[in-house]
Structure formats: C-alpha cells, structure tokens
C-alpha cells in the first residue's frame, strides 16, 4: 500500500499542494482529477522522486518509500530523440532488467501492436505525430513493469478509438494486479478505470473522493 501523509509543496511561496493525504492499495487504480494548474503533475513528480516535497511522508507497504518503484508516462512524453520508437522502449529492459535483445524486442513489439504502433517502430520521435509519441511513451513505461505505474494525461493526444484502446490496456493491467496512478481530464475515462478518484482542489482544501 502506498501511503501519502500531510504532503505540502509550494513554488515561489505559492502553496500548490497543502497537507494532502491519501492511500493507494496494491493492485488498485487511482485517478487524479482537478482543474488545470491545481498541482496534479507536481504531485506525480513528487511520487516519482523528481521533485522534493516541502513536508510530508510517503511510505510503501509501511516501509520507507523508494521512488524507483514507479514508472512514469510524462505529460510531454520526454522520448529520447536519438533512439527510434522501438529502441526507446527496449533500452531500459535490456540495460536494467537484463533482458536479451530478442526478449526485449518481442515485448516491445507486443506493446506496439496493442497500441497500433507497429508500423512506426523504426521512426525517430521527430517523425511521429502527437498521438504516436504518446503511445510510445506509454509502451516505454509499461515495458519496465514497475510496481506503481504513473500516467500524466495518457490520452490527451489520442482519438476516441485509441483512448478506448488505452482504457482496455489499463483495465487489463489492473486485472493482472498492477497498481496504477493516473492523472486525467477525462471524467468518463476516470470513472471507467478507477477504484478510487482523487479530486485535487485549489489552495489546500483537498479531499479524498
């Protein structure tokens, strides 16, 4: 279980997150909604260890939390421009999980297939459309099979068909016991996939939904 207690964060003296507490059970999916600029991305970055909170405690299964447990699909993708779509996905499995090139390629191609991206696997990020980049970013995070998978608006650049595809993917992962943390503006989508919805509200009047 991921537990966040009394988390606070401000930028330039402006409180963005104040005294936020929530918990996410293993295998469950939490969606985070809230108006633009409310601090969703900031919260995700803190959980991923990319931003430090001003105060507050995070624990995983009661133990000190290590951000290494998370994988992230970034809002602006952050693909590696010097690698092809396929290489973006296989890099970490090969280097970190020590998969063979063959196994990593198979895994990546499976994921690309599922996201209808197989024809683009040899293209570099600058040659991809917005939605194509987003799908590569999703596949890259999935391939690492992290304990907690965080998505920052994973469907923003996708058409309805693909959104459905991603929804299926997420539900599928949930069935396999994957813990997921999803920022989204799409309330319908949020309802479909969530065990729990975290509604962020401006100025510290946070609430669990």
């Amino acid at each position: 279980m991921l537990e966040v207690k009394n988390l606070s964060k401000s930028f330039d003296g402006r409180n963005i997150i104040k005294d936020l507490s929530f918990s996410l059970k293993n295998g469950e999916t939490m969606t985070v909604v809230g108006s633009s600029g409310v601090g969703k991305t900031t919260l995700l970055r803190i959980i991923a260890g990319l931003e430090t909170a001003d105060s507050g405690v995070i624990t995983l299964d009661g133990q000190n939390y290590d951000p290494q447990a998370t994988g992230v699909v970034f809002q602006d993708f952050n693909l590696f421009p010097n690698l092809t779509a396929l290489e973006n996905i296989t890099l970490a499995p090969k280097l970190v999980l020590k998969m063979t090139a063959q196994a990593a390629d198979n895994l990546a191609q499976e994921l690309l297939e599922q996201l209808q991206m197989l024809p683009y696997s040899a293209q570099y990020p600058y040659q991809l459309s917005g939605g194509q980049k987003q799908r590569v970013a999703i596949a890259r995070a999935l391939a690492m099979k992290p304990r907690i998978l965080c998505y920052d608006e994973p469907t923003s650049a996708l058409d309805p068909n693909l959104r459905q595809e991603v929804e299926n993917l997420i539900l599928n992962l949930k069935r396999q016991g994957q813990t997921q943390f999803i920022i989204t503006h799409d309330l319908v989508f949020a309802e479909h996939v969530a065990d729990q919805v975290l509604q962020l509200k401006p100025r510290g009047e946070n609430d669990e939904g």
Partner: protein
Amino acid sequence: MEPRVIVLLRSMDLKRTFLLGREKMDYVIEIMPALLSGSLMTLKIFFWTIILAFPLGILVALGEMSKFKPLRYLVEFYVWIMRGTPLLLQLIFVFYGLPLLQIVFARYQAALFAFVLNYAAYFAEIFRGGFQSIDPGQFEAAQVLRLSRFQIMRKIIIPQVLKIVLPSIGNEVINLVKDSSLVYVIGLGDLLRAGNVAMARDVTLLPLVLVAIIYLALISLCTLMQKRIEKHYSYYR
C-alpha cells in the same frame, strides 16, 4: 570552395606581388620540402593531442559536475589555471620551469604534456556546456526507467551532447592546428617556424603565403571532417 580562391587571388592584384613568376615558382619548389617537413611536426602534435585530450576532457567535465566537493574544486582549479594562462607560458613552465624542480621532460613529450592538459580543459568546458543544455526531462525520463548514472550518460546524454558540441569542438580543433605552432618556444620546428626561417633568410613574404595556404588546406580538411560527422549525427533532430 577551393576553386573560388584561385579566382580571387587572380582577380586581386596579388599576383604581381606574391605569386607565380617563373623564378618564384622555382623558389616555391625549393622551400616546399622544408615547409612540408615542418607540417609533419604540426600534424603529430595535432593528432596526439586530439586522441588524448578528448576522453580526458569528458572525464574532467564529469569531475566539474561531481557532487564530491574536493574533487570538483580540484578539477575547477585545474580548468581555471589552464584556461586562465596562455598556452605559450604553460609550455615554457613545463619545459623550462619544471627542470628547476628536477622534473625534466624531453622536448616533444613536454609539448604533448602541455597541449593535452590545456586542450582537455577547453574540451571539458565545452562538454559541460553541452551537458547543461540537455533538457532535464531527458534525465528524468531515464531516471524513472531506473537506468544507472553511467547508463544514462552513455546511452542518452553523451550521444545528444556530442551532436550539440560538435561545432564548438570543431572550433577548438581548428585552434589546435594553429596553436601547434607554439612549440617553437621550446625549440621544436613546425610549419610556421619553417616559414619564418625561410622568410628571415630570404627576406620575402612568399614563404608565409605558402604557410598560410598549407594551414588553409589542413584546416579545410578538418572542417570537411566536421561536416561529415555533423551529417552522420543528423539522423535525428
């Protein structure tokens, strides 16, 4: 670009002054061997400095960004001295100063030692700039994929840095070709020295014109290689 040079040299009235009379051609043929053997020293210094200073420069750049403060200060101090004083003086100190402390280098080794230390510092600054201009999102993305610091460097950052720093490195390489003439101060004869000797002896600017043309050729070669490498790296944006 080369053919255009000829045209320009002709169209200006340089011909009358510097070039191309029958006796002058003979003179050129006479001094060419000395100039070419001077170029050999230039090329040797150039070649070894590149080979050794390039990897050292990357290491120094990493040292400059190290979180271990004593190391960082030491490396910063080294870069500060190397960039802060003329290479000419560094050569003098290595070759003429160190023997006062009982450290005696042979001529050519002293030259290489000073050149490598000096250029590594310059390369390091360029690499540091390159590292810092990489989008932090790239580090973050690699970090959450649990790549080690070393893997992030090797697979993600350094390839992108190389692409970025290529023009600056090109500049320094060109400087190196020219700086190599500084070895005159420790008694090594290079291209420029050969031209100077001929000029002082024969009281004519012609040898220097030839020296300039040889430099131009060497440096054009470097630029050409740079363009090649840039093209190689243009597979992504």
